[in-house]
Amino acid sequence: MRYYLTAYIIFWSGLFLYLAWLTGRQAWLNRRAAGLVERLIAQGERGGES
């Protein structure tokens, strides 16, 4: 029973750690994309002024 539960806990934690890393990377990616959009908008506004 002990080994059985340990194996399942390790398996799940391994999978979830990878998923957590993937999600964190996704969040970073979203922030980066948002920054890019802001820059694009700012550039459009500046372009409109000139």
Binding site: Y3, I10, L29, L36
Partner: protein, 260 residues
């Protein structure tokens, strides 16, 4: 049915091989959240079956239940080797970034599941063999495969920035994949020519499996395959997005420089 196949069928095979066909790739990417949810559902079903439905094995008892994550992990690890091999060959042939990304992401996921195979195997071995590690043929070849993946990923990390990393990594991926069956063969020889130091109980759990266990195993295999497809497409999509974002940012930087 036929119309949907026709819709997905690549327009030209040349385009398909170079970019995995824009549409095929997009269908895969748009399906990936569905695949993800399906994978979650299947995983829940698998663990429900393992925890409540499948009967306890009479000799081994609870540790035998590790079988239902151990074997699918190993299956996933070998699929990842296959993906790395195919993607590496395709990259050397077509030199499109997508294949390189596929190889990289598959190697990463393969390494994860190789580690999980080893750990669950050791935890299964502890009560059954009396010790976590014996130098059995399958254990040894899996461990060597783990080391090859490790070397592959380390090379990717440590490679100098002024070279085409993907090309050399593809070569390592190909040589490594060719080595996998060779290692398996040689290790098996090594272990059959030497007397076995440990008496193995239930060394071949696949033979003569009762129906309930077989069903559980099959469900587990399907759900693990779905998890693999989901993780791979998600990772590939991320890497693609990172590269595209980098390109866009570089363009914006250049424009900003021009403006000043």
């Amino acid at each position: 049915m036929i119309s949907s196949i026709k819709k997905w069928w690549p327009r030209s095979w040349r385009q398909f091989w170079t970019t995995l066909d824009g549409r095929t790739y997009h269908v895969l990417l748009h399906m990936r959240s569905w695949i993800g949810w399906l994978a979650v559902g299947m995983m829940v079903a698998t663990f429900a079956l393992v925890f409540w439905w499948v009967p306890l094995e009479s000799i081994q008892g609870y540790p035998q239940k590790i079988f239902y994550i151990h074997v699918p992990s190993a299956w996933l690890m070998y699929s990842a080797v296959g993906v790395v091999f195919v993607a590496s060959v395709m990259y050397l042939w077509q030199r499109t970034q997508l294949w390189d990304i596929f190889a990289r992401c598959a190697a990463e996921i393969g390494f994860l599941f190789c580690s999980l195979t080893l750990v669950t195997g050791m935890l299964w071995g502890s009560p059954i063999w009396g010790k976590p590690w014996v130098w059995d043929a399958r254990l040894t070849s899996t461990f060597v495969l783990w080391l090859i993946y490790l070397g592959y990923l380390l090379f990717r990390m440590l490679a100098r920035r002024d070279i085409e990393v993907g090309r050399i990594a593809a070569v390592i991926g190909i040589v490594g994949a060719i080595d996998v069956p060779i290692i398996h063969l040689s290790v098996q020889w090594w272990r059959t020519l030497h007397p076995l130091p440990v008496v193995m109980i239930a060394n071949d759990p696949g033979g003569g499996l009762p129906t309930s266990m077989l069903v559980t195993l099959l469900v587990a295999l399907v759900s693990f395959s779905l998890v693999f497809v989901y993780l791979l497409t998600q990772r590939v999509w991320q890497e693609r997005t990172i590269e595209n974002l980098g390109l866009l940012e570089a363009i914006l930087d250049r424009k900003a420089e021009h403006a000043t």
